[in-house]
Amino acid sequence: MDIAIETALLRRARDGSDEAFSRLVGAHQQAIRAFLRRLAPNPADADDLAQEAFVTAWSRLARLRDGISFRTFVCSIAYRKALNDRRRFNRASARDTAWHDLTPQTQTSTADARLSVQAALQTLPIDVRAAVSLCVAGDYSHSEAAEILALPLGTIKSHIQKGRDKLNALLGVSS
């Protein structure tokens, strides 16, 4: 979306225009949902989180600073929601499947196993996965990713390098 159009829509949305806000949602829903689908357990959960992120963005439009795009703003909200969702999910899983720890787990050899892309992504810590999703799978700049994930630029670069190395190894992509 053109920056001038987005700025005008944001101004109108801040003034209470639902029509302007819905156009912003329409323009950015694909990017936000694609990002969340790599963080959430399944696409339906990702879409729910995306909807919640847009609603939160609507209520916090006044806090959107100049120089930050709407997409970056919503992505940062979406990332925090995904983190909270994951913590809830982990707590619930820990309660429900405590018995699972008693079962011996086989460690797959990363050298031989060709995991599916989704399974390979799931092996990355969520912040590394988010950085890879934004900057490798998506078209976000490193500084945008730093803003979204609230991490220093150097950490983002290191996360992307680590993520790339691990995914290349797991998926058998030659370096």
Binding site: D18, F21, V25, R38, F54, V55, W58, S116, V117, L171
Partner: protein, 104 residues
């Protein structure tokens, strides 16, 4: 080569959601409308509670003055109330009158 191959793998594995998804937009705007309604109700309830609390403390002091002034002010209050009703009705009717071509 590896970066492009990795990007291609990531993109191919998780097909992007549709660029235009009207249903998604409608669901988001529905949730926004619900949030707006909830915020409006909370604001109204808090306002009513605040005004009620204020009146609870203030009324014992102003009731004697109101009682004293009630009789002389009754005609003026009646006229003001009638004017308010007329003004409110006029404002409500204006859109309908415009639809019939009346320039109001």
């Amino acid at each position: 080569m590896s970066d492009d191959a990795l990007k291609a793998l990531l993109v191919a594995d998780e097909p992007a959601p549709p660029a235009h998804d009207f249903a998604f937009m409608v669901e988001v705007m529905d949730k926004v409308a619900r949030r707006k309604l909830a915020e409006g109700v909370i604001t109204l309830v808090l306002g009513v509670v605040a005004v009620t609390a204020l009146l609870y403390f203030v009324m014992p002091y102003i009731t004697p003055a109101i009682t004293r002034l009630a009789a002389p002010l009754l005609p003026a209050v009646g006229i003001l109330a009638a004017l308010a009703v007329i003004a409110f009705t006029w404002e409500q009717m204006r859109p309908a009158l415009r639809q019939y071509g009346l320039k109001v």
